[in-house]
């Protein structure tokens, strides 16, 4: 029987595949990769594309990923898939949008946090909750 290795494909939101494989094909940023058991440790970025897994039963499984990372250990291959297409300028645009949202919401942007006021208000909220709890216990 041919040697196998353990392969996991996971994204931040879900586990996509977990099982044994004879060989894994993926498209790295430097070119196509074919990984067999006992490969030297490797860490690479993946291009958006398919990841192909050949199982010990000779089946071929295809998964589409929109980029990510590939980690290779002699007997473990892990694909950390991204959930969406990513690019540096896209990320920066998202960061800018998040900043703008913050600015819109904040009339007093950049002002110092008012510790005393916040603590008083929070203490009040907690006192209210405790009072409600006490009332409940009494009514029992």
């Amino acid at each position: 029987m041919a040697m196998t290795m353990h392969v996991d494909i996971v994204s931040a939101e879900a586990e996509i595949f977990s099982g044994n494989a004879e060989m894994v094909f993926a498209s790295g940023v430097m070119g196509e990769l074919g990984i067999m058991p006992r490969h030297t440790p490797l860490l690479t970025e993946l291009r958006p594309g398919e990841v192909r897994i050949r199982t010990p039963e000779g089946e071929e499984l295809f998964y589409y990923i929109s980029g990510g990372m590939l980690e290779v250990q002699p007997h473990v291959v892990t694909v950390l898939a991204d959930t969406a297409l990513r690019a540096k300028d896209l990320d920066e645009a998202a960061a800018l949008a998040a900043k703008e949202r913050a600015e819109q919401d904040m009339k007093n942007k950049g002002s110092e946090f008012e510790y005393a006021k916040a603590q008083v208000q929070l203490a009040e909220a907690m006192a209210q909750l405790r009072a409600i709890q006490k009332l409940r216990e009494k009514s029992r």
């Binding site: 996991d8 790295g28 430097m30 990372m69 959930t83 960061a95 946090f113 510790y115 603590q119 009514s139």
Partner: protein, 286 residues
């Protein structure tokens, strides 16, 4: 018979409220289960990526990434995760209280704090009380996605890259079980590698393209996955807290209705007794 009309109206209105709270309780219960599933399915990614980072920390790479090293400055960045909606007991208040306590301490040490809020409640809280909010994300809904968080995380990472903050914390509610949610403030950056002795031998990865690029990529994803994990945890907490709060409200409505019903019955009985007494009295007089 016009006895106790006010009481009847009141009972009716409380019953209507009870219907709403009971419905909300059931909705929260079913959403909580889904949120818990989501929490579970987010775990493998975080575990795997943590393994890779543990390998990295022990692999003696020729390049040390700034995300894994103590920085010189003293200012602090905090990513606060809150709920979008209220009616979930003291969940947000508890978190904000824990956070304000830490913030006050940092403030007294002369550290400046930059904030990034997730969820409408945190945005509202900090717009009421001030604070330097550099990024905001809200309305994530019941199915939060990593894409919704990229911007906020990026803004915080940029602040770290530029040296505006030297440490980044994540504040969120951890889901312990349905009855217990505990506010947590965890250090995100610099990454503290777990000391796993098993891995202490000398080897290193082959990096494609460059160690620096690959590591930046990996560590960014790691931070994003931790924040996402915090968001889904917080969501499960929100639903659990809402379920408990709504159950308490339904129970309260039940006891109130019971009391009012008793008062109503007594009033009605008193009216009947009085009427009979009047008739008997009248008959006796004839």
């Amino acid at each position: 018979m016009a006895v106790g009309k006010e009481i009847r109206v009141k009972i009716k209105s409380i019953k209507n409220t009870q219907k709403i709270t009971r419905a909300m309780e059931m909705v929260a219960a079913s959403k909580m289960r889904k949120a818990q599933d989501r929490m579970q399915s987010a775990r493998p990614y975080a575990t795997r990526i943590r393994n890779v980072i543990a390998h990295l920390a022990h692999a003696h790479p020729e390049y040390k990434h700034p995300y894994m090293q103590e920085q010189a400055g003293k200012d602090i960045g905090v990513i606060v995760i809150s709920t979008d909606r209220g009616l979930c007991g003291g969940l947000n208040s508890n978190l904000f209280r824990a956070l304000v306590r830490s913030m006050k301490q940092w403030h007294e040490e002369g550290r400046k704090i930059e904030l990034c809020t997730v969820g409408r409640k945190a945005a509202g809280f900090f717009s009421r009380f001030g604070g330097r909010v550099i990024a905001q994300a809200s309305n994530l809904g019941d199915k939060p996605q990593v894409t919704d968080l990229i911007g906020s995380v990026r803004a915080m990472l940029n602040a770290y890259d530029e040296g505006r903050v030297s440490r980044v914390y994540l504040a969120y509610n951890e889901f312990v079980n349905t009855m217990t949610q505990s506010p947590r403030i965890e250090q995100l950056l610099p990454i503290v590698p777990d000391s796993d002795e098993r891995l202490k031998h000398h080897w290193d990865y082959l990096y494609e393209p460059e160690a620096k690029d690959v590591l930046t990529h990996l560590l960014t994803r790691y931070v994003e996955s931790l924040v996402y994990q915090g968001v889904v945890d917080n969501l499960a907490c929100e639903q659990a807290a809402r379920m408990v709060a709504m159950k308490a409200a339904s129970d309260n409505a039940g006891t109130l209705i019971g009391e009012l019903q008793l008062a109503y019955n007594k009033a009605r009985q008193a009216a009947i007794t009085q009427e009979i007494a009047e008739i008997v009295g009248g008959a006796a007089a004839v």
